[in-house]
Subunit: 478 residues, 2 copies
């Protein structure tokens, strides 16, 4: 009964993708709603995924020389207003603190939507000489943006993220940093999250408020929509000028330093769900799965079965995140539960397996069963986890390839989207914002990015027919 109930309550992704998504976030116990719209409880299972993301990324940030700091959560209105483009971009969607206790504040405070202004104020206090540069900072905090429409992980009023903020003596150093961190994100998404991404540059109309240029990685979700993860911004010296940050160079001259910022958010959890999930629930990439293998004793009332399961767990614990479920629930119920939770490997061990010195490993993403000898269980499990990562990566890549359309006319774009569903459209662009808008208006797909890896599909802009400057990746965005 329970097994049936658990599965029945999930909408099929082909029937209603949005409903399927919210079913999973609830049924896999990832989030719970609260009485504050757009603010959610991140439950232990989802938080454990986030902790794994943090641990891996934090290690990469530190390996590339970054240090963690912590800025206040409040920004005075007067400070937010110092950089013109920045405040225009963010002021409409911030939460304002107007009272402390029973007293009205003179300068109201916004809850940080992002912390460039705070870092700039700090830099102006601590950066004086070329010896003080670079500063390579990062912080793991939550930020608030007062969004009208909200969805768990994808668009919430408060979300967790890391924001890297760096300041350099030269423009080139800052540009290199922007690219370095984009590559760190891309590598993490591809290898650890098994999510293929396209690295690219945002068009002028789509860049971050206050940036000279914004880079980002774009992934294609199972429904053919694009999800942006990991933007990396190059600021030039615009913020430094607005905040009067100057340093004395080796020739004793005053100079403005150059800055970057970059961040990923709990949105990545939404990306994992929509890239790898299926109608049985979550499918988690092994690198971030809170439980990488669950051991289910079969006929666990028989003598020795639970003991054997525990023995296998103890053997595996040094290499993988593993647990035994010897609860009273039926084996079938457990199978359904751990499928819903996306645990990459299920290890079944019963009396007959014990007799034969073997166990059965079932991979979540393709439901393949393999009988393996207990003699080399550790190697088998480690190899299976790699197989899962490779398998779900290939599956996601195939889905992206199937839904990537190289087009040479507006008609072709509309035809391909109509025939094959949403996806990435590759088409040439003259660089004119009017054409960018026009493509979106005529086809429904907007510019996602100008991919680093350019292809010469045509000499002409897909919209106006004038000489093309870039190949753009177009799509519908989350």
């Amino acid at each position: 009964m329970s097994e049936k109930k658990m599965v029945e309550e999930i909408t099929s992704m082909d029937v209603d993708f949005a409903k399927w998504y919210t079913d999973i976030v609830k049924k896999a116990e990832l989030i719970e709603y609260t009485s504050v719209k757009g603010c959610m409880v991140i439950r232990p299972y989802a938080y454990a995924i986030w902790e794994n993301i943090q641990r891996i990324l934090d290690g990469r940030f530190k390996a590339t020389g970054h240090e963690n700091v912590c800025m206040p959560m409040f920004i005075p209105e007067s400070l937010l207003q110092k950089e013109k483009d920045h405040v225009e971009g963010f002021a409409p969607e911030v939460a304002w603190v107007t009272h402390g206790g029973s007293e009205k504040l003179e300068d109201r405070l916004c809850v940080r939507p992002t912390s460039e202004t705070l870092f700039c104020e700090h830099y102006s206090n601590i950066v004086h000489s070329y010896r003080d540069l670079p500063k390579l900072y990062n912080q793991w905090v939550s930020v608030v943006r007062w969004e009208k429409t909200t969805r768990p992980f994808l668009r919430s009023r408060e979300f967790l993220w890391q924001e890297g903020h760096t300041i350099h003596a030269t423009a080139q150093e800052a540009i290199d940093e922007t690219e370095r961190m984009l590559n760190v994100y891309a590598d993490f998404c591809e290898n650890d999250l098994a999510m293929p991404v396209i690295k690219g540059k945002k068009t002028e109309s789509d860049k971050f408020a206050g940036a000279v240029s914004t880079y980002a990685i774009e992934a294609l979700m199972h429904d053919g929509k694009a999800l942006q993860a990991g933007p990396s911004h190059y600021f030039g010296d615009g913020f430094a000028r607005a905040f009067d940050i100057q340093f004395t160079d080796k020739e004793n001259k005053k100079q403005y330093p150059h800055q970057t910022s970059w961040g990923v958010t709990t949105r990545l959890i939404g990306a994992i769900i929509m890239t790898h999930g299926d109608d049985n629930g979550l499918v988690l990439p092994p690198a971030v799965a809170p439980i990488q293998a669950v051991i289910i004793p079969i006929a666990q009332h028989k003598p020795g079965v639970v003991d054997k399961a525990n023995e296998l767990r103890d053997r595996l614990a040094a290499a993988v995140r593993v647990k035994v479920d010897d609860s009273d629930n039926s084996a079938g119920w457990k199978f359904a539960q751990y499928e819903m939770k996306g645990v990459p490997l299920r290890i079944e061990i019963g009396p007959r397996d014990i007799e034969n010195n073997q166990c059965v490993i079932v991979t979540r993403h393709d439901n393949q069963k393999t009988t393996v000898s207990l003699d080399n269980l550790e190697q088998a499990v480690t190899a299976k986890l790699q197989e899962v990562r490779d398998g779900i990566y290939e599956k996601a890549l195939k889905n992206r390839e199937k839904h990537t359309y190289r087009c040479r006319s507006i008609d072709e774009i509309n035809q391909r989207l109509a025939d094959n569903g949403d996806g990435f459209v590759y088409a040439m662009w003259c660089g004119d914002e009017a054409c960018e808008d026009s493509v979106k208006e005529q086809t429904g797909v907007g510019s996602r990015c100008i991919p680093m890896e350019q292809e010469n599909l045509d000499d002409k802009c897909v919209c106006c027919g004038k000489p093309a400057k870039h190949m753009v990746c177009w799509g519908k965005a989350y």
Copy 2:
């Protein structure tokens, strides 16, 4: 010049303890002020201390069965008001969000000063049956309390903390949890922070808003004032009743569950400074020191010296957090700098040391030099770190013993405080709040806690002479 400057700028702790403290937080690059009063930048060195505290405590929380979650930072005013005592305690000091973007909110939101109300709302959604209990949750976040007087780490408007929140089927389980976590805190402070603490129960007048009972650990700072760390609260079923959280027990009857909460904050960094620091700067307990040993090459321009220093670092890196400073600064400047930063061990290696296959280890807290053979450097360094922990613990314990006064009358309290300076006063109490207030009025020391380890100093209350119920630890508090 730099060496002199670095030391000169610190006020001696005996001259002005408060000034000495703020000098250290700035000179050791722990914090930087911001334009928001009471909100500070936690700089990389202080944040690295906090990361070590987090890592160790998080491990202990997980080892005792707790899971991390993340609640929203906002609490609707209507939710905060559900538990009467709780709202009375916190409403006067919260920051209020009244606007989201340009729109006024219907129900204004406070930035969490603590999250009992949010956890209760969540429990009411997810706890239905005895099978759902216990829930052992924790979160690492920041909270806001709109304090009038602020000091870095000790009292700031925003601070980082962890807050544990648990819910249990029975009162006894919740009481056990309260004590368990108090013991985790005490053990962590004593062993990892090398800070002797007194475990005790708060008096009725001093307990947390909404709690049945509050336990805490109290440490004595170098100036004789007390600092509370690690409160642990038992709530009974008061919050459950206020928030209508009920579960069905095994006999199918509705019951109210019992709750606890407990937390430590970045205040611990203030406690470390004021327990172990001296006139040369910070003295860090090895367990949380970002750098446990710094290697200073002596006469580093001579061939082979820096290479040898790097070789030692590579050997030590597996066992300790170690760095080499081969910058252009003079050795003397480096000595002063790492003393200021409280690095437990300084390892000096010069041409003559290399010749003799040795190095010199200097312990920060007592400036003792030991020449050790390079053959067993790893063991020597590990042993030295333990020696430092034990040494600073003993030093702090001696200071506390020297400033602990067992008194049988108000006059004796005043006399001891006048003769020997601030400290802990142990004296008997009848349990009457009027006497508690009167002791404070007559002596300046308030009740810190009722220590778990009771002594029978007298049969009579130190204030009114009526039969004594408890021995109380009194003191001036941070």
